[in-house]
Structure formats: structure tokens, C-alpha cells
Amino acid sequence: MLRCGTAVLRRAASGGGGHGQGQGSSLAQPLEPSLLRFLVCPLSKRPLRYEEATNELINEELGIVYPIIDGIPNMIPEAARTTQKKPPAEGSKESEQ
């Protein structure tokens, strides 16, 4: 566990590179259903629609989409994509925590 911690810190400190993250079928992990009770859009605080096909959470009003990666919903507004454009949208902030 200690080694795990230092590896994480080293990655965070060096500003990360996305090497070897996706292990193939990681996108297929579904969202924990109980979470949907609580999750809202962080910007408008309005409820979201869960789209099973693309595994995303959609805010219809503002037209933004939050991805779910490895079963973890990414609710950072900067990382979300708009429904109009094509998504380049990965790269959530790896700021120090």
C-alpha cells in the first residue's frame, strides 16, 4: 500500500501522462444504480439522465454530457462534452489532492 501511495504521488507530481489506463473493456463498467439518486449536474444542480448505450450522464437543458469511466462518473464540468460537438473530452484535471 505504501508503494501504491508513492506511485500515485509521483504521477500526480509529474503531471501525469495517460499511459496504459484503459485496460480494454473498462468503459463497459456500468454505473452503480444507487448513485443516480444523488447525482445532479454540478453546474445547474438539475437531475441527469443516464444513457446506458453510451454509458454517460446527460443534462438535457444545458446540452452537456458527463462520461462514466471505469464505473466512476466524471462530474467535472471542464471534462464534460457538449452534445453538439464531437468529444475529444478526456483528460480530467489531475490537480494535487
Binding site: 501511495g5 504521488l9 445532479v40 471505469d70 466512476i72 462518473p73 467535472i76 464540468p77 490537480s95
Partner: protein, 247 residues
């Protein structure tokens, strides 16, 4: 690294936090900046043991049970070992969450645990949802602490509790100088030797010094609307637990 810097005492601090919380089964916890799951796992363990004790007490009072009732009680045990308690871990750092999720799998935590990538200043949760909000060693890294406190107030149910575990200020002058010596001479060296990163640990120690002291943080928490705000110093103020209620 946490173990090296604090000689393992950080585990005790986190234990004390959960004991102070004293959650009962059915509690809904939001753990912010708790990426690697330390508080979440302790919460689950605590609730599980409380639940076990509850069930044992119940069984002890029922001496003459029919076979049907005994079978039913075994089924209840399996489905409600947590008693509907749940913890949502929210962190801004994806790597921390991934580590936390892996640890959860290794340690066998399967139910009652969810992970969300989110910003403490802009929580993706609805109003009046959680019984307890904790932030352990995370509020120091938030840019706008007042926003984080306001968000905490928003997502808590009325009657909900805010708990913050964070490095704070040592008032005793002798201890303070010893602590400064340790912080500035030893910790960055440990950081270099173990993690190959002097700068981050230098930053860590400086950020602790810059963080508001106990009374100031208490005032900020009160400004967000919390009542009965209080703090408990651990290790003479090296660490403090601030607590407030949404009433």
C-alpha cells in the same frame, strides 16, 4: 508515505474521526477528497460492527424462536450487514479514486460504496441528501474553502453533520518549534528519499503553515451556516477535527 511522515499516527487520527462520527446503520456519508478510501472503509467497518452488535442483542432477547424465525434472521443478516448505510467517495483526482476502488476490491468491500469524480467547490449532488459530510486532509487543497463549505451545507440534510480533519496550528511554543524542525528538516528529506520528490513535500509543509488556524476555520464554518461548531485538537493542535451541524 503518509505512514513514514506521521509514523503511522495518521491512521489513529482517521480512526478518531470515525469514532467521533459514531455512525449508526442507515447513515448516508459523503466523503469528499477521500480518494483512496481511508475514511470510507473505516466507516463501513464501524457500521458493520454496530449492526452485528444490534443483531446479537436482538437474538439474545428472543430465546424461543421457531425454525422459521431463525431462518429468516439468517437471511436478514446477509442482505443487511450494513443496514442500508452508504458512503459516496468524491474526489477531484481520478488516480486517487482508482487506487481507492482497487483497494476496495482487494479488501473485499463490495456494497454500500460509490465513487464519483467531482469538485468540492461544485458538488454534483442534490440538496439535503447526506447525513454526514467528511473531508479528511483535503480542505487544505481546496482553492475556495468558503465555496466548499457552502456546498457542504447545501448537500447535508437538516440535522446533518459536517466533520473536517485537517492539519492545524500548535499553540505551545516548545512543541511548535519541534514541529517546525521536523516539518522543514525531516519531511522534505523523506519525500526525496522515498518518493523522489522534495518539492511536493516542501509544498505540503508550507501549505500546512498557510492554512487558517482553528478559530479562523471555525469562523469560516459558521459563516457557511453551520451551528454548534466546535473543534477538537489532536496531538496538541498538529491536527484538528472541526465539527458543525446543519440545523
Amino acid at each position: 508515505m503518509n505512514d513514514s511522515m506521521t509514523l503511522g499516527i495518521h491512521r489513529v487520527w482517521k480512526d478518531i474521526l470515525v469514532h467521533k462520527m459514531n455512525p449508526s446503520p442507515g447513515t448516508l456519508l459523503l466523503d469528499v477528497a477521500g480518494g483512496t478510501g481511508d475514511i470510507a472503509f473505516r466507516f463501513i467497518n464501524y457500521v458493520r460492527s454496530v449492526r452485528e452488535r444490534q443483531l446479537q442483542r436482538k437474538l439474545r432477547h428472543h430465546q424461543n424462536l421457531s425454525w422459521q424465525e431463525i431462518a429468516e434472521s439468517y437471511q436478514e443478516d446477509k442482505s443487511k450487514s450494513l443496514g442500508d448505510s452508504q458512503v459516496v467517495v468524491c474526489d477531484i483526482n481520478k488516480e486517487m479514486l482508482k487506487v481507492g476502488k482497487q483497494r476496495a476490491q482487494h479488501l473485499g468491500y463490495t456494497e454500500g460504496l460509490s465513487w464519483v469524480l467531482g469538485n468540492a467547490e461544485e458538488l454534483p449532488f442534490d440538496d439535503d441528501k447526506f447525513d454526514v459530510y467528511t473531508i479528511a486532509f483535503g480542505i487544505r487543497n481546496v482553492t475556495r474553502i468558503d465555496l466548499a463549505l457552502q456546498e457542504a451545507y447545501r448537500v447535508l440534510k437538516p440535522g446533518g453533520r459536517f466533520l473536517c480533519l485537517e492539519f492545524s496550528h500548535v499553540s505551545n511554543p516548545l512543541l511548535s518549534s519541534l514541529y517546525d524542525l521536523y516539518s522543514f528538516q525531516v519531511i522534505p528529506v523523506l519525500g526525496e528519499v522515498i518518493a523522489g520528490d522534495w518539492k511536493s513535500y516542501q509544498y505540503l509543509v508550507e501549505s500546512i503553515r498557510r492554512f487558517p488556524p482553528q478559530e479562523e476555520l471555525k469562523a469560516m464554518i459558521e459563516d457557511a451556516g453551520f451551528l454548534k461548531v466546535d473543534y477538537q485538537n489532536l496531538n496538541s493542535g498538529i491536527v484538528a477535527i472541526h465539527s458543525g451541524f446543519k440545523l
